[in-house]
Amino acid sequence: MKRYLLAIAATLAALSSACVPAKGGSGSVSHLSLDDVDGKRHYLSDYIGRKKAVVMTFWATWCVPCKDELPVLQKIYERERDRGLEIIAIAMDGPETQAQVGAQAQQMGLTFPVLLDTDSRAVALYNPKRAAPMLRIFDEDGRIVYSHTTFRPSMARKLERKITSVLRGGRDGDDSRRPRRRRRRVAQDDD
């Protein structure tokens, strides 16, 4: 058994080192691919580590707070897309509600990719507790710099500030005007 596992590990390590990592410092980003609601394949490595900021949000059609969060993200996306923002919405719907995913995305006017995690592979990597909503922000080096597992409309402004901050390389215009002590506390929250 041990020999079998070692052989597999060696094979995978060899395959891994033989492959060229994604550009933009995202060497540790998985090439995991998910289909969108139209059947088109998307690779996470095409976004994470290549864009200045990537927002990955896990949602489901039965999740009420998710439907508050997604329109907020759409507005931010329209404003910040040209500055290097990408948003990926990953639906965790089971077979009983999967047919509603595309329709609800269209109703909310979402123009960023809406992907289906049918085999729980993205969940296993980035949302092991399967929380909904669950949002993560990746910086341009592919590092996760912010996460939250809940959303209330009162959080919209803070979320926007955080995304803007990551787009500016971690320096937020609003935060920079605050006293140094306050800025340190904000950074600690998000770690």
């Binding site: 395959l15 590092r143 209330r152």
Partner: protein
Amino acid sequence: MPWRRGTLRLALTQSNLFEYHSDFDFIDDATPKRFFDIKNRTDILLMHASTTLHVRFDGNWYINAANDGIFGQRQTLEKISLSTVQRNFELAAGDFYQRIGRGMALELTKIGEFTRDISIRGGRLAIRIADVQALGFVGFINPLEVDSVTEYVRDIPEDVVGGGEIKARLSRYATFSAHYVGLKQNNRLDIDEKISHVLGGSLLLPRLGGRLTIYAEGNYLSQTEGETATRGSATYASATLALGAVSLLAEFLFLNDFQLRNDYGPDPNNADFGGDHNVYIYTRPPTLTRSEQDILDTKDKIGGRIRGDLRLGKTWIWVSYLYGRRSESGGPVLEDSLPIHDVFGGISFQITKGWKLFVEGGYRFDKLSNGNVDYSQSFAAFKLGGTLFREHTLEFQGRIRDMQKLDNDWWDMFLTVSYRPSKYFSGGLTYEYTKEHADRIDDPAANPRRHFGGVTLTANFTGTSYLRFYGGSTRGGLRCVDGFCRVFPPFIGAKGELVLQF
């Protein structure tokens, strides 16, 4: 945040649950069982370039539990996998999840950390060339050893599953797939082993004219068990029409003796929420109904539904109607069935700035051929939440249901109030009432529980790590409280939950 050095990334999710049960298994057993337990879930991800090592350790320690052979001190390596994901191929050894189509041919996934989690332990290879993907997999069925709802140690099936799928995106307007799933079930009761073959295919036609999406899937099932051979089929189709603020969804489902399951556990028709720990169902077709129906699904049914959604700014309105038939006595649905009517609708809107109201109501009934009601449910639910001032938020949530299952009828309700003074702390009160158990426990002196209540206090360290204390009782089920949805098992006692994610 995950630890990272160069191309190496380590992510750790540590979940600890400390529980005191003051009346375990209260639904099925009137005699109180009191004990402590500690549960540990350690989920480790180590990623290097595109290779990922995933390990999950589970620990269950029971202190002072009346050990009648069903509980066990367990420290197990529940999941282990090593995988590499490249642009043109994926290779995995160990545990992985798999869904084929809309879950009709196969659905082995994780629903939650402390709920259903069935993987395949074996190997999986996917190769992608342009818009074509070929997938093959084989392995043993690997559910969690301890059922988190009942706490019972499970009888792990020795079933072997394998299959493959070819999916081709022919154009931006058409994606075609064909699949096969084989299942070999070893006998545990000295009866003949069962061999199942599923052959099927699907077609996705997205955004025809920019507005219409059509999906259709068909499956054929062949099963042999000794001298007995059976045949089944499953068909599902959906059409979604998006017209700006309005979307219309039409669905059709036909299941004819179609299900992959482990047949060697307790009779699933007699199983309830607390007793189905040895039943493993490997398929999960669309139900066309709401998830909170509290009714076991069947392998024989036919029906269609239409759903309409309207979004006007921050207002959502939806309505759904299903007409179907399901098998009345386990036979083919076209020969022996009872009608199902299921209608529900709701509205979600902003009352004032910062305050939102969600209201939903519905009615379902399944009528027997003799005119009696086999199952019915009517319900009304609401959720009202908003900001009091600054970061202080308040939320009310509730539901009332009137239920009938054959001769048993009862009503139940729950109400939750949660208050969050800051992003670091929150608290909530929950009250539940049910008349159900009065009809289910035979012993009239058992004084069935009708009132349930609890207090929750949460300290959030970061966006994903928290410490939560709960004291009281709950009936369990799917709950979404203060923006967080989970399936809660039934419980009476006190517990602390510490979740740390690095």
